[in-house]
């Protein structure tokens, strides 16, 4: 019974495919369709809900209510404001689509599409539950990064085609940032690939699906895994342009960055792509380091696997929101310094630490050595990044 509940979506799909009136030749297409549509629907809905949740959570962080008005139309039912995203969507759809006269119309039109398609493609390799990866690709992780890399170009297209100085600055920033942070992102992933010995996301999750006692064998519970997770998460924030790395939009500096000249539904697409990118990369972080769909404690395994995946996803999204509500934005040169002078060396050291972990016998020594290998450079690099003691809190003198 529990198993059936766990596999409910898989069973449903098989059941739907088993209907006799489908012609045999259409069945592969249908199977693909049945995988794609739910994913698109679920994540589009998650996007809508997340925008409201984010605004509400940031509102609470800032001691306000956040959106709490829009509910069912023509009634007093307010649903805690969760009708907001539908209203926003309708607004975006009905808004006038303005294209600047000087803009390159074709590229301007193509940019949001070129952004949203790869972002959706990235979802095809994430395992959402047991037997619930749309494609079990031998090169799943590589696929993810490959389609992720394709988004950079659409950012450039958007920024360049708008013929706006701010948008061009934003695009430049965005591309520089994405390329820089892709390096630590991929290198921190390599540790996991090394340990598991496969690029397949399904295999990576399976490698973490064991328990010693109650504790799971998640990668995050090792020194290299923890360091890798943190590095991955920081790089993921940068990749998805989330605060404090939201320079490409930098609304106080370059107004809205590369999508400044977009309005209406095209703007909504950028917004959607940004959030979907965040979900996708959080999903990968879960797959790589947080044990994918496995339960955090052995006795909790009776809950369906997809529930755990989405619980972890929501936890990561909350973390993103929390960080956004707290920190100011970095500056371009600091962002680059952080990527190349801190993230990259740490990621490389992390590879060495993971290798050492692999060869050392299990036990306390292994923990101590690997942790030391990571903490010492962290402290040193951190100090270097803050310019020795250059940036510190100061004490002030007073005149009577």
């Amino acid at each position: 019974m529990i198993d059936a509940f766990d596999q409910i979506f898989v069973l449903l799909k098989h059941w739907a495919l088993g209907w006799p009136f489908w012609p045999e030749s259409l069945k592969p297409m249908l199977s693909v369709f049945l995988s794609i549509v739910p994913i698109m629907l679920v994540f589009a809905l998650l996007f809508g809900i997340t925008t409201v949740v984010e605004r509400k959570a940031i509102g609470r962080i800032q001691n306000r209510y956040g959106p709490n008005r829009v509910g069912l139309p023509f009634t007093d039912v307010r649903l805690f404001g969760f009708g907001q995203f539908i209203a926003d969507g309708i607004k975006a759809l009905t808004k006038e689509d303005i294209v600047p006269r000087a803009a390159d119309r074709v590229v301007h039109f193509l940019a949001p599409i070129a952004l949203i398609v790869p972002v959706f493609l990235a979802y095809s390799v994430l395992p959402y539950g047991k037997n619930m990866a749309p494609i079990d690709m031998d090169t799943g992780v590589l696929f993810f990064f490959a389609v992720g890399a394709a988004t950079e170009l659409s950012v450039f297209m958007a920024g360049w085609s708008s013929r706006n100085k701010y948008s061009l600055l934003g695009a430049m920033r965005a591309i520089a940032q994405m390329i820089s942070y892709e390096v630590p992102l991929i290198i921190s992933t390599i540790t996991v690939v090394m340990m598991v010995g496969s690029l397949s996301t399904v295999k990576i999750v399976e490698a973490q699906a064991e328990y010693s006692g109650q504790l799971p064998h998640w990668h995050v519970f090792t020194p290299w895994g923890l360091a890798g997770f943190i590095l991955f998460l920081i790089a993921a924030m940068a990749e998805s342009n989330r605060s404090p790395f939201d320079l490409p939009e930098g609304e106080s500096e370059i107004v809205a960055g590369y999508f400044i000249e977009y309005s209406g539904f095209k703007f909504a697409l950028f917004f959607l792509a940004e959030y979907l990118g965040m979900f996708a990369i959080s999903g990968l972080a879960i797959t790589l380091f947080l044990g994918g769909w496995t339960a955090p404690l052995a006795f909790l395994s009776w809950l369906p696997s997809w529930l755990w995946f989405f619980a972890k996803l929501l936890a990561l999204i909350s973390l993103f929101i929390w960080v956004r509500g707290t920190v100011p934005r970095l500056r371009m040169d600091q962002l680059m310094n952080f990527a190349w002078k801190f993230m990259l060396p740490m990621a490389l050291i992390n590879i060495a630490a993971a290798g050492l972990w692999f060869f050392l016998p299990a036990g306390f020594d292994r923990w101590a050595v690997c942790s030391a290998m990571l903490i010492v450079p962290y402290v040193l690099l951190g100090r270097g990044l803050m310019g020795g003691k250059l940036f510190t809190k100061r004490t002030y003198r007073y005149a009577e």
Binding site: N63, Y65, W322, L381
Partner: protein
């Protein structure tokens, strides 16, 4: 160590997040159309004209002296004096404003008209939901829209209104006493007239 300050900041925002659910101090938002802040005694928005009694025309305190029109910094008051006179609260015949307009799209709620008015005739209203679809005529308030009863004034500014009322009542009492004295004097003079031939002039009534 790197990251310490950020983690402290995260703790602070988390405290505020939780605090906004449990601590009234932290969630100060008032949900406006449903909830309203308690009215403040001193609150002011746009001026209105006070009238006594029930008839806005008969009870209007304004005597069209046009001081407020002159003193108003943005010049948003327009007054036209009447030709005839009507009795004021003490019964003295006074001019009244034939036209009294305030353009509230120009008014900056500075309260100077109230300060300069010697007749306690213009006061500050607390009503602020005055939005209108007609930006010219809709925001030009005439005498009828501006006239509000003394009871209303007492409701929105109780302490101030009590002081003003006391002041006016005292003046009225004084005027009554004076009127009575005048009447007495007149009576006396009349009586004297009957006794003495037209030799003495009536003593002029003391002017206050």
């Amino acid at each position: 160590m790197l990251g310490e300050g950020i983690i402290k900041g995260l703790a602070e925002t988390a405290r505020n997040f939780v605090g906004s659910y449990v601590d009234k101090e932290r969630l100060v938002t008032v949900q406006y159309p449903e909830e309203r802040l308690p009215a403040k005694e001193a609150a002011r928005n746009f001026p209105f004209l006070v009238f006594d009694g029930h008839d806005p025309h008969a009870g209007l305190r304004c005597v069209a002296c046009q001081i407020c029109e002159k003193e108003c910094p943005p010049q948003c008051i327009y007054i036209e004096k009447s030709m005839d006179k009507k009795p004021d609260y003490v019964g003295k015949p006074q001019f009244y404003p034939k036209i009294f307009d305030i353009d509230i799209s120009v008014c900056m709620s500075c309260q100077i008209c109230v300060e300069v008015c010697p007749f306690e005739a213009i006061k500050m209203d607390t009503e602020f939901e005055l939005s209108h679809t007609d930006r010219f005529a809709g925001l030009l308030f005439d005498k009828h829209q501006l006239a509000k009863s003394n009871e209303y004034y007492q409701k929105i500014h109780p302490n101030e209104a009590a002081e003003v009322d006391g002041h006016l009542a005292a003046e009225k009492a004084k005027a009554e006493v004076k009127a009575k004295a005048d009447a007495d004097a007149k009576a006396r003079i009349a009586a004297a007239k009957t006794t003495t031939p037209p030799a003495a002039k009536p003593t002029p009534a003391p002017t206050s």
